[in-house]
């Protein structure tokens, strides 16, 4: 009992300590965007056409890699600054995987096997591109949760910001440094509760899950893919380290290991409550369901095809 309790507390604490730097960084980047970046500046950097916007979103992570722990606040600020959802949402999904650090760790964990890294990228690219294209010309206010105030910046009337205004204005008078500091604090506090929730639940699963469950899951290819994807969501492992955990499932079919690495950065116990808090219900559910379905179908098909 004591061993279980201490192990649980150590795992949960370790998850929080590991993710906090990236959540702080994401909150800080979001606050800098909020305070310093003029209204339409980012829009001028993004192509006007749909495929171009999706492509920018998919590969922006190579220049601005962000861990999944800190990406939601960044994307929220990007949307509030007028970045089209067709670029912002694919960026949110792809950046935690399609970046040099994660691709490098995947290659290292799988002993230089380029095909593993390539399949991992592919399994992430497809659902990210799909969601980006499906969003079409949706506006930021169409994908974000309804705010308690009118969105003056989108020309919808006079401002009526209140003390709990979620638009980020924070009612802070003063210099830019003070405003960035306050925004970062509030954003971090808002997201940290989801991080703590996810860390606690993931630690519970990791502590209490019997290893014998693996024997059940490796029985057939379809079950193996579904089982490892579920495990990835429950364990909520950072995208920079999940390759090593995936590689340890050596007795599982390769595509199930790749599916483990693909789904984790897109959907896990930390991200799900963040999605529900930031995006409208329809998009939040799509962010959960579309990657799960797409990655499962692709991985299962490739696995049955002999890969």
């Amino acid at each position: 009992m004591l061993e279980t309790l201490v192990t649980f507390a150590t795992i949960a604490s370790a998850l929080f300590i590991e993710a906090t730097p990236f959540l702080i960084l994401g909150s800080l980047i979001g606050s800098v965007i909020e305070v310093l970046v003029p209204e339409r500046t980012l829009q001028r950097l993004i192509p006007d056409n749909g495929p171009g916007q999706v492509a920018v979103g998919l590969f922006a992570g190579m220049l601005l890699p962000t861990c999944e722990c800190g990406i939601v606040p960044v994307v929220r600020k990007l949307l509030l600054k007028g970045v089209p959802p067709r670029a912002a949402i694919p960026y949110m999904m792809a950046a935690p995987v399609i970046n040099p650090v994660v691709i490098g760790s995947t290659l290292f964990a799988f002993q230089g096997d380029i095909s593993v890294a390539a399949f991992r990228v592919l399994l992430v690219l497809v659902p990210a591109a799909m969601l980006g294209l499906v969003l079409g010309k949706a506006s930021p206010q169409a994908v974000l949760r309804p705010l308690p105030v009118s969105l003056q910046r989108f020309g919808e009337g006079a401002p009526s910001h209140g003390p709990d205004c979620a638009c980020g204005c924070a009612h802070v008078d003063g210099n830019r440094f003070k405003r960035i500091l306050v925004h970062t604090s509030l954003e971090f506090l808002s997201m940290a509760r989801f991080l703590v929730f996810g860390a606690v639940v993931a630690a519970a699963f990791k502590t209490l899950m019997p290893p014998s469950i693996l024997e059940v899951l490796m029985g057939n290819a379809l079950l193996a893919v579904a089982g490892l994807m579920t495990l990835a969501i429950l364990l909520s492992i950072c995208s920079e380290a999940d390759a090593f955990v995936a590689a340890s499932f050596a007795t599982f079919p390769l595509m199930s290991q790749v599916a483990f690495m693909a789904i984790g950065p897109l959907v896990d116990l930390k991200l799900i409550p963040m999605f529900l808090a930031v995006f409208n219900r329809r998009l939040a559910i799509a962010l959960i369901v579309v990657p799960i379905f797409t990655i499962y179908v692709m991985a299962a098909t490739l696995s049955l095809g002999g890969l």
Binding site: A9, A14, L15, T184, I213, V245
Partner: protein
């Protein structure tokens, strides 16, 4: 009331930041994260303390109970993890004695050692696996490793035990098992979880092996498909002060 809640929230955030700073300097940081990230934890701690003051600047805001509760849960978990004894880590004379930022690790010992007149290279199971992939370990070479015994029915039947350790790339939650298969006469003589020092010759594996290898702290472990240790001398050994593997080196001296 709102002012009191803001003060409580700021204090909790500052306390979490202080915990990060203290932990990064402590000799138990490695139980949570790979020591190479101690600087990142220290930096985060300082930023959290600053952000704690930032919470006080927004005087019109009333903190949400869930935000305050989350910080309290973090501190409670940290208290349990640090204060209660962790059965995974025994008392050992070779545990680190200083903080991670200026870590004074115990002496690693020589790169090679003599056992019964034969020289062996000291190495860890993760380095053996990487070396086999990259071609700088080869059959016929002699190596000595240390780790805990891991068994399954398939290995018992094939005449092997696995000797493994936990590899920590980032944090304890991401721990993955790495193990080397060792050919033995009677696998049932070796208790799972027992720490051994194994000196043997790297050789091609034989027989049918399979099944998953469950280790304490992880669901499964990686092993080589091709090479293991034969003609092995197995000696019980104490669990080292730091049982985890944090680094993988490509040349001697390896991170034994």
């Amino acid at each position: 009331m709102a002012a009191i809640l803001r003060m409580i929230e700021a204090c909790l955030m500052t306390a979490v930041g202080a915990f990060f700073c203290v932990l990064s300097q402590s000799s138990i940081y490695w139980q949570f994260l790979n020591p190479k990230y101690a600087w990142l934890t220290m930096t985060s701690g300082i930023l959290l303390i600053i952000l704690g003051f930032g919470c006080l600047l927004h005087r019109e805001r009333c903190p949400k109970p869930t935000e305050i509760g989350a910080l309290a849960v973090v501190l409670l978990l940290a208290l349990v993890a640090v204060v209660l004894p962790n059965p995974l880590f025994g008392q050992s004379d070779d545990a680190p004695v200083e903080g991670s930022l200026t870590m004074t690790w115990p002496e690693q010992g020589p790169a090679r050692m003599q056992i019964d007149g034969t020289e062996y290279i000291r190495i860890n199971p993760a380095e053996l696996i990487m070396g086999e992939t990259e071609g700088w370990v080869r059959p016929g070479e002699r190596y000595v490793i240390q780790g805990m015994v891991v068994r399954n029915p398939e290995l018992d039947e094939a005449g092997y035990i696995a000797v493994g350790r936990l590899f920590i790339a980032c944090c304890f939650a991401d721990a993955s098992g790495v193990a080397t298969l060792v050919e033995v006469d009677d696998p049932t003589r070796h208790e799972p979880g027992q720490w051994l020092q194994v000196a043997g010759t790297l050789s091609p594996l034989t027989g049918q092996r399979g099944g998953s290898l469950a280790m304490t702290g992880t669901l499964s472990a990686i092993t080589s498909d091709r090479l293991g240790l034969t003609d092995a001398t197995l000696s019980p050994t104490a669990q080292p002060g730091v049982p985890f593997i944090f680094e993988v080196r490509k040349e001697e001296p390896f991170a034994f």
